[in-house]
């Protein structure tokens, strides 16, 4: 690549040809505000906030999409530029439902921040406002077009990262609205409810459906016995809401906070992650041995499951019949644990703390009632939990580290790594290897399946049997991988996590969640794994007890009844 030299605010910068002015400015240490820009995903120059003056250009130039040129003279902070940016923010505010104090994104809103930073002190334009009904049709995502500023990041994520295309710009001009086709409700279109859109939305136009009210009510009800489970990925992200760096491991404080919120028992989804490995590992060995319905596709990620049901129903037989760890937990809690603890399951409320919005959908699936009740009652995202902690006035950083309750709080490192892309595969391999070969793994770390590469492949030698595995995260990569399979590529076992980076990048995680933060959370996950005494699911004593006391054996009749499920083709429309 050739190098181009340009001047930004009188500073000479040399960058690669083809670089945008925005990136060149970053290199020169010059901050240019952006709004619609999402690196590598949404580079469309729509909001016109990042405009700069380029000498010789008639109009201002959108720096996020304009490539540099040799000798270019750029000014990013002139009266003309500042006035233009303010004008466009003012316009956006003039068609925005400005109810900041009551907005879910108050103090974490890019529009708000931008208006502050650019010194917008008044909105001179009164007039028409585009008003659309708020879409609360799904159990997971709320779509409020009245707060939408049409940056289209959500559209780009949905289309380019997830390959779903549930939403798109409709209508034209002032009436443009981001919505499902024909302004249908989200529930009626193949939205997988992954919530990636809520992560990239700069305002309060897309957010998780809030169940904190229901949970507060359950906690306040003396007749209820409220147990909570926390997903692997939440422990490395909750801290971000309280000033910790991304990836900080705050497991103990989270447990303490949940106790203080009033949960009767605090359990760990990692426990059922281990259980999942027992079931799914056994399922894999069975299918691999028989050569049936391969590749086996993992089934922990509800967004991924819904994706297959909508777009690749032909792969439904390949999906593992195992429920996700969250749902296994619900089923076990309301049967095994209720029995063991002598609690009437009818008055037990199971709450999940999840990094995921699709889990809200999953817990309401009609298949998920094998305990005789809805197995999991409410799913709260990491963000909702943080809000409850703040609302309760709990000083999170001041909390002591506490332990999970027994027995459903005991887990292994294999359970923790479920939170990152490749983690399920790695956990499964740790167990499958030992179950098949009867030998102890020389090294527990399967590095080939770790990391942020979109599709990862590996071949594992199970005592002479070569197992070809693949891992994909984000549905866009999943789609590519499935197309490879359809084209004849042979795999035995495929892990798919719906969200980029796996659950640590889930749609319910703290905002912002970007590539760098994902990497930091993944690092947190593997650190947590390393710190564990037990790192293989089949070594989890509580899991062993569960089989001994209740389930008998993996893929046994009770397991089949409580821990496995089936899927339904949903069609595209």
């Amino acid at each position: 690549m050739s190098t181009v030299t340009l001047t930004i605010n009188n500073v000479r910068v040399a960058v690669e040809a083809g670089t945008t002015i925005l990136k060149a400015a970053q290199k020169a240490g010059v901050h240019i505000p952006t709004l619609c820009y999402l690196e590598g995903i949404n580079e469309i120059g729509a909001c016109r906030i990042c405009v700069v003056e380029v000498e010789g250009a008639r109009n201002l130039v959108a720096s996020c999409v304009a490539p540099v040129a040799e000798g270019m003279v750029v000014r990013t902070n002139t009266p003309r530029v500042r006035a233009a940016r303010r004008f466009n923010v003012e316009l956006l505010l003039s068609n925005h439902q400005v109810d900041c104090p009551a907005c879910v994104r108050n103090l974490n809103c890019e529009l708000q921040t931008l208006a502050q930073a650019l010194g917008v002190r008044q909105v001179r334009f009164e007039g028409q406002q585009s008003r659309y009904p708020v879409d609360t049709s799904t159990p997971a995502i709320v779509r409020d077009p009245n707060k939408c500023i049409l940056c289209r990041r959500c559209v780009a994520v949905c289309e380019k990262v997830q390959g779903v295309k549930a939403i798109a710009p409709l209508e034209r001009g002032f009436h443009t609205v981001i919505a499902p086709a024909f302004q249908e409700e989200l529930i009626n279109v193949p939205c997988v409810e992954c919530g990636q859109c809520t992560l990239v939305c700069p305002t309060g136009a897309l957010y998780e459906k809030d169940y904190t009210g229901e949970v507060w009510a359950a906690l306040a009800d003396p007749g209820k016995f409220v147990v909570v489970q926390t997903a692997p990925a939440t422990r490395v992200s909750i801290g971000q809401e309280f000033g910790y760096p991304p990836g900080a491991i705050n497991t103990g404080q989270m447990v303490a906070a949940l106790r203080r919120l009033g949960f009767d028992r605090v359990f760990d989804t990692d426990f059922t992650a281990d259980l999942t490995i027992m079931e799914e590992g056994s399922e894999f060995i069975e299918r691999f041995t028989k050569g049936e319905r391969l590749p086996l596709l993992t089934s922990c990620s509800p967004g991924w499951i819904k994706f297959v049901e909508h777009f690749y129903p032909e792969f439904i037989p390949n999906l593992s019949t195992c429920k996700s760890p969250q749902q296994m937990f619900g089923a076990v809690a309301k049967t095994y644990y209720a029995q063991k603890a002598g609690i009437d399951p009818a008055r037990m409320v199971v709450v999940s703390i999840m990094p995921c919005t699709a889990k809200k959908f999953e817990c309401q699936r009609p298949e998920m009632r094998d305990s005789g009740y809805q197995d999991v009652d409410y799913v709260l995202t990491t963000r909702e939990l943080a809000r409850m902690i703040k609302e309760a006035g709990i000083e999170f950083p001041a909390l002591p580290e506490e332990e999970y309750d027994d027995p459903l709080g005991e887990s292994t490192g294999a359970g923790v790594i479920f939170g990152a892309t490749g983690g399920v595969m790695e956990a499964a391999l740790r167990t499958a290897y030992e179950l098949v070969t009867g030998k102890t793994l020389p090294s527990l770390d399967f590095h080939e399946v770790r990391g942020l590469a979109g599709i990862k492949e590996a071949t594992v030698d199970l005592d002479g049997a070569r197992v070809r595995v693949a891992v994909a995260h984000s549905l866009g990569h999943a789609r590519r991988l499935l197309e490879r399979v359809k084209a004849g590529e042979q795999y035995h076992f495929i892990e798919v996590m719906c969200c980029p980076g796996g659950c640590i990048g889930g749609g319910g995680q703290p905002i912002p969640t970007d590539a760098e933060i994902r990497a930091q959370r993944i690092a947190g996950i593997y650190t947590a794994d390393e710190r564990m005494v037990l790192r293989k699911s089949h070594e989890n004593p509580s899991v062993q007890a569960l089989y001994r006391e209740f389930l008998e054996k993996p893929l046994g009749e009770k397991s089949h009844h409580l821990l496995h499920t089936h899927y339904t083709p949903r069609g595209k429309y």
Partner: protein
């Protein structure tokens, strides 16, 4: 092959199809069959002649006779006369609007005479559905030449040298664009024809596609060869079904003939074409949005770079050219770049096609050389403005462009000149606006259009255009605020500066350009809550009232007349105008020019109705209703001048209780109404009776009492006068400024009329009288001279007749009375004999460039002198203020008029106000009345009053009878017989009889009632 002795070409373009040309065609085919002529006369569908206003258009060969507006019912006569008997059917020919002379040849019709057709060369000439006809007109010759004799680089060089620029609006050099794509690496490239024409009122591309589709195909193939593209797409609106149909036929025919497809002309060059139908989004005319739409996605622009020439359709190098650009290409190749580059201006070569629309006589499609002036297009080609209305502005470039006001009619139409005026060439929509257009409303219209067509991607265009429109709407609703214009300008500039694509970057142009040229019209809306053009409905009750300078509530009094409540009608008029009797006779009635009834049949005869009500009140002999007078204030006011302005002020000040004395230099009261207007228009007793209605309120008029001679303002002040109104009029005549003006027998118009009205008429009996000028004074002088027994009266005017400032009726009456009018003649000298004038020497003039008023400047034609014999010459070329006697310290304008503040009418001297002709220059009676009223309010405020001089009245606006919706002719009150007229100064006009008045009043549409 069959031979026919005649061919009838009938337009099958969209315009004529909308005028039902197909019905005419079917009638023609039937009629020919009935005569057994179907083997002798061939009927051919052809493309647009451009004369759409007069559709269906038809051309008969071999004679080349051009017929207009041929309806099916005209066909039998046409066939029998023209095709059987060989006689031209005169009534179906085009008629010159002024002379009514029929023109049979295409080339002699002014509309066609000034055109040069390159892009449209085959439209109206060939059958667009027959490739053979295109080939017979040298079609595909250029493609053959290019493929067999030229290298791609040579083709590009030819187009570059020709200077062809993009006709879609941007004006980017076509050759350069091709060169970029030619140089872009890669084996796959595309050529795309932009046929997404979407400007309101524009149909240039449509007509080319409908009339000559092969020209576009050939242009694309040549472009494809030049850049190395093997595939082209024509992106055409689905709303152009005829164009789509003919393109499909053309592509199929070209493929069949091997002119598209593999190995064209055995050259090894493969090229094929497909259509892509657009769904009608305006933004898809933007090249990047168009490409995305061709790819099948939501048509939205993307940022450039990369430009399509580098990365276009499916990421491949792509050239996008407009239909008209491509249609020029084959002819450039055939005729050579030198030929093309010789047409047009330095930087804009060739011709441009325009769709003439709006308030213009010849609506239609025209192609003129670049550099033709806007005025030539409007007047020479377009035939001027209908209904004798004034040209106000032209909008070029559609909603992306801007307006050009009358002062720029001389602008040569080329890319750069238009840009310098703040507008753009655009694709060629040319919308003409007349005085009835409100520029705020116009800006609103275009902004509303772009607002709706915004794709919604970028912030400034999506929200900004709506916010701008809201401000405009507010202004047009009378809710404009100070600062709105600045806000609009700021928003406009920000949107231009930051929008993503051309649509947004140009969207504010109509607003910015109308503010630039018509700021005072915006200010009228914002400050005075007034829409001068009577368009913004929230700002007025009815156009007639809104147009009346004195704000007379026309629909109310007209309705009272209809109800036979004549005295009340008089009261309504007199509330706003103390001279109903006079205005009922001499007002130039701008109200009638705005009457909505004219759109249905004819304007309501408002002036005559006023006259009827006023005469009725007069006939009550003092029993008429009298206004309420306020208790005396004791604050004395002096009015200098007893003309309409002075007397009006006196009237309203008297109503407010101020004692008023009017000082008049002449021995009669009435000003120009007394000494300017002849008695046959305004009888002396009528004038006197109306003035009496003012003196009876206690107003004292002192005659023959001249300022400076008989009294001074300082003197009056010492007598206790507290406020002064200078209303001295404009009684000093302007000179011709040519030799011989001091000869005996040479009069000025005002002096001639004054002498006549004061009872000492000049002796013109049996003489030849020549009047110079075209205003009302000229008409009055001429008609008076005729009555005084002149043998011959001749009016000489230096401009065109339609430029005459006189009231149309006056010109008409003058001509009826046998007065000869010679226009386009400029006086050069007065020739005398023994000190007496004998003749007027004139020069013929031609009309040159347009002046600031939008009229053409007369330019003497060298060596064209001619002599008009004359015993008496009356120069009526304008008046100015007589300044003798005015206080020396009084500030005057450059034009010699008194300087008075526009709003308060105060002069630079305390307590001294001025108004009427001495401030405005020679104006109308109603103008003077309006000024007098305004001054009365100002003086009342000055004296401590509230300034509300017009008594308040509750007005109920509701219909008292059903509106007559059928066409109903305006009732004419029979004037005095011609024989009687010229014998005396008896009044010519006769008012309505009661039944006539009631019937005429019933024609009012009651536009003031909003239900």
């Amino acid at each position: 092959m069959e031979f026919y002795r005649a061919h009838v070409l009938i337009c099958a373009g969209t315009g004529c199809t909308a005028s039902e040309s197909q019905a005419t065609k079917e009638a023609l085919v039937r009629e020919l069959a009935a005569w057994g002529l179907e083997r002798e006369v061939q009927v051919v569908d052809t493309g647009c002649f451009g004369f759409c206003r007069f559709g269906p258009n038809m051309m008969i060969y071999p004679e080349g006779t051009f017929y207009c507006t041929v309806r099916p019912e005209d066909v039998p006569e046409l066939v029998e006369e023209h095709l059987v008997k060989g006689r031209v059917v005169e009534r179906l020919l085009y008629k010159q609007p002024e002379t009514e002379a029929a023109v049979s040849s295409f080339e002699e019709i002014p509309f066609f005479k000034h055109q040069l057709r390159i892009a449209l060369r085959n439209c109206g000439v060939i059958n667009p559905e027959a490739i053979e006809e295109y080939i017979a007109r040298d079609g595909y010759l250029a493609l053959g030449k290019v493929l067999t004799e030229m290298k791609p680089a040579e083709v590009i060089e030819t187009i570059k040298k020709a200077g062809l620029r993009g006709r879609g609006g941007g004006g980017f050099p076509t050759g350069l664009k091709w060169e970029f794509a030619h140089r872009a690496p890669g084996p796959v490239k595309y050529i795309v024809c932009n046929a997404d024409e979407g400007d309101p009122g524009a149909f240039m591309d449509r007509s080319i596609l409908e009339g000559d589709p092969h020209a576009v195909l050939e242009g694309m193939a040549i472009a494809g060869y030049a850049i190395g593209a093997g595939q082209g797409y024509i992106y055409v609106r689905a709303e152009y079904p005829i164009a789509v149909h003919r393109l499909k036929i053309a592509i199929a025919q070209a493929r069949e003939k091997g002119l598209l497809g593999k190995n064209i002309f055995n050259s090894g060059f493969d090229f094929d074409l497909d259509l892509r139908l657009g769904a009608g989004a305006f933004v898809c005319g933007e090249e990047t949005a168009l490409l995305i739409s061709v790819e099948g996605r939501r048509g939205e622009p993307r940022p450039r770079p990369p430009f399509p020439a580098v990365s276009g359709l499916w990421g491949k190098p792509t050239v996008i050219n407009n239909v008209e650009t491509l249609a020029n290409v084959p002819t450039i190749i055939r005729n050579g770049w030198e030929w093309f580059a010789a047409i047009g201006t330095e930087k804009s070569k060739g011709t441009k096609v325009f769709a003439l629309a709006g308030k213009i006589n010849n609506n239609g499609l025209v192609e003129v050389p670049m550099g033709t002036s806007l005025g030539q297009i409007i007047y020479d080609v377009g035939g001027g403005i209908p209904g004798g209305k004034k040209f106000k502005a032209a909008q070029t470039g559609g909603p992306s462009g801007g307006c050009i006001p009358a002062e720029h009619l001389n602008v040569p139409i080329d890319y750069d000149s238009l840009t310098s005026l703040g507008t753009i060439m655009g694709s060629g929509g040319l919308i003409i606006m007349d005085e009835d257009t409100c520029m705020v409303d116009l800006a609103k219209f275009f902004l509303d259009f772009v607002k709706d067509e915004s794709c919604g991607k970028c912030t400034p265009c999506r929200i900004g255009t709506t916010r701008m429109l809201e401000v405009l709407e507010r202004i047009s609703m009378g809710q404009g605020q100070e600062g709105d214009l600045e806000l609009l300008i700021e928003m406009g500039q920000q949107i231009k500066d930051t929008a993503l694509c051309g649509l947004g970057q140009t969207a504010p142009n109509p607003v910015l350009s109308t503010i630039r040229y018509f700021r005072e019209e915006y200010e009228a809306h914002i400050r005075d809550k007034r829409c001068p053009a009577s368009v913004c409905a929230a700002l007025f009750h009815s156009p007639c009232q809104n147009t009346c300078p004195a704000n007379v509530d026309v629909p109310i009094y007209v309705d009272l007349i209809r109800q036979r409540r004549f005295a009340e009608a008089y009261e309504v008029i007199r509330r706003e105008n103390p001279f109903p009797v006079i205005c009922g006779r001499v007002c130039h009635h701008p109200c009638e020019g705005k009457c909505n009834r004219a759109k249905l049949d004819q304007a309501v005869a408002i002036r005559n109705l006023k006259r009827f009500a006023a005469d009725y009140a007069l006939s009550l002999n003092g029993q008429r209703p009298k206004p309420q007078v306020a208790p005396p204030t004791g604050k004395k006011v002096a009015v200098i001048g007893a003309g309409p302005a002075g007397l009006t002020a006196a009237y309203y000040l008297a109503l407010k209780g101020h004692p008023v004395t009017v000082f008049e230099a002449l021995p009669v009261a009435g000003g120009m109404m007394a000494v300017g207007i002849p008695a046959y228009r305004l009888p002396k007793e009528v004038l006197a009776a109306e003035i009496a209605t003012i003196t009876e309120l206690g107003v004292e008029i002192r005659l023959s009492c001249a300022l400076g001679r008989d009294f001074t303002l300082a003197g009056l002040q010492s007598q206790g006068y507290q406020a002064f109104f200078l209303a001295v009029g404009a009684h000093r005549d302007l000179k011709l400024g040519i030799p011989g003006e001091d000869l005996a027998g040479v009069y000025s118009g005002v002096a001639f009329l004054r002498d006549l009205n004061l009872g000492r008429p000049a002796d013109v009996r049996g003489k030849s009288v020549v009047v110079i000028g075209g205003g009302n004074v000229a008409m009055d002088a001429a008609r008076s001279a005729k009555r005084l027994g002149a043998q011959e009266v001749h009016i000489v005017y230096r401009r065109a007749k339609e430029d005459m400032p006189a009231i149309r009726e006056e010109i008409h009456e003058a001509e009826q009375e046998g007065i000869k009018i010679t226009c386009l003649a400029a006086p050069v000298a007065l020739l005398g004999d023994n000190g007496r004038v004998k003749a007027l020497k004139c020069n013929w003039v031609r009309l040159g460039e347009f002046d600031n008023s939008g009229r053409r400047r007369p330019i003497p034609i060298e060596g064209s002198k001619f002599i008009v014999p004359a015993d008496v010459v009356i120069a009526a070329v304008g008046q100015t203020v007589e300044r003798d006697g005015l206080p020396a310290e009084l500030k005057v304008n450059r034009a010699g008029t008194i300087a008075a503040d526009e709003k308060s009418l105060a002069t630079n001297l305390a307590g001294i106000f001025a108004g009427g002709d001495c401030v405005s220059g020679p104006d109308t009676v109603i103008g003077a009345i309006a000024a007098g009223k305004k001054v009365a309010a100002a003086i009342d405020r000055y004296l401590g009053g509230d300034g509300k001089v017009v008594p308040e009245a509750a007005v109920e606006r509701k219909r008292t009878a059903p509106v007559i919706e059928e066409k109903t002719a305006r009732l004419i009150a029979a004037p005095l017989e011609m024989a009687e007229r010229l014998q005396s100064f008896t009044e010519v006009e006769r008012g309505y009889a009661e039944e006539q008045a009631v019937a005429e009043a019933a024609r009012c549409l009651r536009c003031d009632v909003r239900e």
